[in-house]
Symmetry: none
């Protein structure tokens, strides 16, 4: 094929380093993370890390980008299941909400967000990586689906982007305190309850008014 055994080994080593780097960064923070430790955890020599990534800063970027890509993929896959095939909009939203919360509460997701918060002053471009690669696209994807559901008459979201933001807020906001920024495990049942409450509030606000009934003014 395309790769010799040696080349395959190199790529695999690179992947092992990125994985180890994310794990160590997440555990210890950027500054406290030792390149020795990362190298050891990846099973390579310290100099090998440098030959692959140049310096520690770049290693952080790559690790974060890889982690963001993973999170993006899972979130998009979940959102794509939100179609207008079903008539029970509440059940659909709850199912999607629960799965989005699963993504949000994944250990790697918490670690990614914490790392981002931690290093945003030192490396402001990290946020761009994340936002353009993941957060923004997820919100937009959800907004797209809400728009289609509105068109289909299942919802009433005249400002789909704002509605998407609020949907995420209602889902994840209560988790931040409950999960103690990812330090505490939140049981499935509690996650489901939060998701149901979020969907309930969301639907109160964004359910289409029955036809023929004079509706109140909508907001901006």
């Amino acid at each position: 094929m395309s790769g010799t055994i040696a080349a395959r080994g190199r790529i695999e080593k690179r992947q092992a380093i990125v994985d180890a780097a994310f794990a160590v960064f997440a555990r210890a923070g950027y500054a406290q993370a030792g390149v020795d430790v990362i190298a050891a955890e990846a099973g390579v020599a310290k100099a090998t890390v440098y030959s692959h990534f140049g310096d520690k800063e770049n290693l952080l970027r790559e690790a974060i980008a890889a982690s963001a890509d993973q999170a993006l993929a899972r979130n998009l896959a979940t959102i794509e299941t939100l179609t207008d095939h079903s008539d029970d909009i509440r059940a659909s939203l709850e199912r999607v909400g629960i799965r989005l919360l699963e993504c949000y509460c994944d250990d790697r997701s918490w670690a990614l967000r914490r790392l981002l918060s931690a290093e945003i002053n030192q490396f402001p471009d990290l946020l761009d990586i994340i936002h353009t690669r993941a957060a923004e696209r997820v919100t937009e994807a959800l907004a797209d689906r809400l728009a289609r559901l509105t068109v289909a008459g299942h919802l009433h979201t005249p400002a789909p982007r704002l509605a998407a933001e609020q949907f995420f807020a209602l889902l994840t906001g209560p988790m931040d305190t409950r999960a103690r920024l990812g330090t505490r495990h939140v049981p499935n049942s509690e996650r489901r309850a939060v998701a149901r409450a979020a969907v309930h509030t969301f639907l109160q606000a964004f359910t289409p008014k029955p036809v023929g009934t004079p509706s109140r003014r909508s907001d901006t």
Copy 2:
């Protein structure tokens, strides 16, 4: 007159150190923050920092606790203005929402949250400091007020604690992305818009049903 500039009292020096410490920790992160820098910024010798706080770790705790106390005070003061004296519940909530967002978007608040996220793995007890001292009490205070407004007939929040959580979520959730975790300044007008949208959604969900009108079942 007891104090010249050179001869500040011990307490003043302690306060200066705490302030400088929070500023430097917020700017550089715990590990990267140099005690030299903190001391210089506080206008004292490095050893003085140690004589006051023992070690860097304890200094972080004190700085965080002080900052959390400040944030708590501002939030509580705001929430206390949410009374049932006015008939215009929407206006009241919007006013409170806007002021809560001001607290939330204050530079020190962002810094506090980022610092917390950053160091939670190394210092898990920080979260306890914050949660018991600030976050929990703010949420409960808001829940209290929502309950009173419900009793007064202005709202319908059968689960005030959950409603309070959602109110905060609707307010602050959209800010996280818009403010880029505090890196980007969000103009007043945008903050007001977020607050209004949050209050609108909140009221859709928690406005008392008109008397004599059959209401839909609420979920669990």
Copy 3:
């Protein structure tokens, strides 16, 4: 009488500081000994130590000198009991030997010697303090007594100074290894055995030859 209450307090404090200093120096070594610790152990403030002794180095000197004086006094008192009143020279020497070993094995004596060894490079004059104040005078005092015993016909020490040195050597030499430089406690019985063996060897060498027998030349 001569001192006011305040003055008496000062002198007592000075003594307390010297005692504490010796204890701490002995325990931790000069460099590792903290003036804080000495002050605390003496029950005074750190600055008081400085007002009494000027600096740490001088404090060491005073502490060592005081300790050397104590050791000197005990040794001299013991040696003075070595008279020619008794006919049993062996018993006399053994009694003195045992009591000299008690002095030598006292915790403070070990500490003094260790401290001296430790700091002799940094403070060469310490040795002068000790030697002129104590060691030299003890050896000379013993040499005096050996000379008188020789004159009285109980011993034969044509070179009393050398004999005194060897007496001390036979006594203390075996103790160094047995007591592990003062770290290990040597039981009384063992000390007595060492003293008896020392006296035995000493007497083999320095017992006067029987009268009427042609004696061999003694060496220098």
Copy 4:
């Protein structure tokens, strides 16, 4: 061939560090010795010292152990020359005594003993290193030889271990004061005199009694 001055092998560097460490520790004491200074004296970077020895404490141990091994070797080699090949036991003992005193009075030996005294409180295990590695074995080796000389009829030491202790005591005891713990140089002639006096006294005590023979052989 392989090693230029700049590129000494790892083992050579290690040896250079140990040597420098012993020199600096001996000169300044453990606490006052700077790792910087040791590194500079060894011609390596400070961090290299740490990569080899972990920490300063361990460096002390290794330096002391190395020095003790050297001293042991010299002492054992000397003692091994004490055979029963010669008939002149006095000359043999004097020769060995002089050479043992040379070992004892070597600068490194003094330094080793001073260092040991100095740090025994902080590092009690140092004494075990020395005792098991050197002191004990030297005394035992001498005791062995004294026993063989007794068997051969040249000496009479029914308790060889004690006799060995006393031989060392008579040799080294007088040196401690004369050499001022190694601070003062003792001329060869004086060392020889001490050795002769020691041997004289030793022989007075441990010469075999003539069996049925009228007079003993005269000494030198």
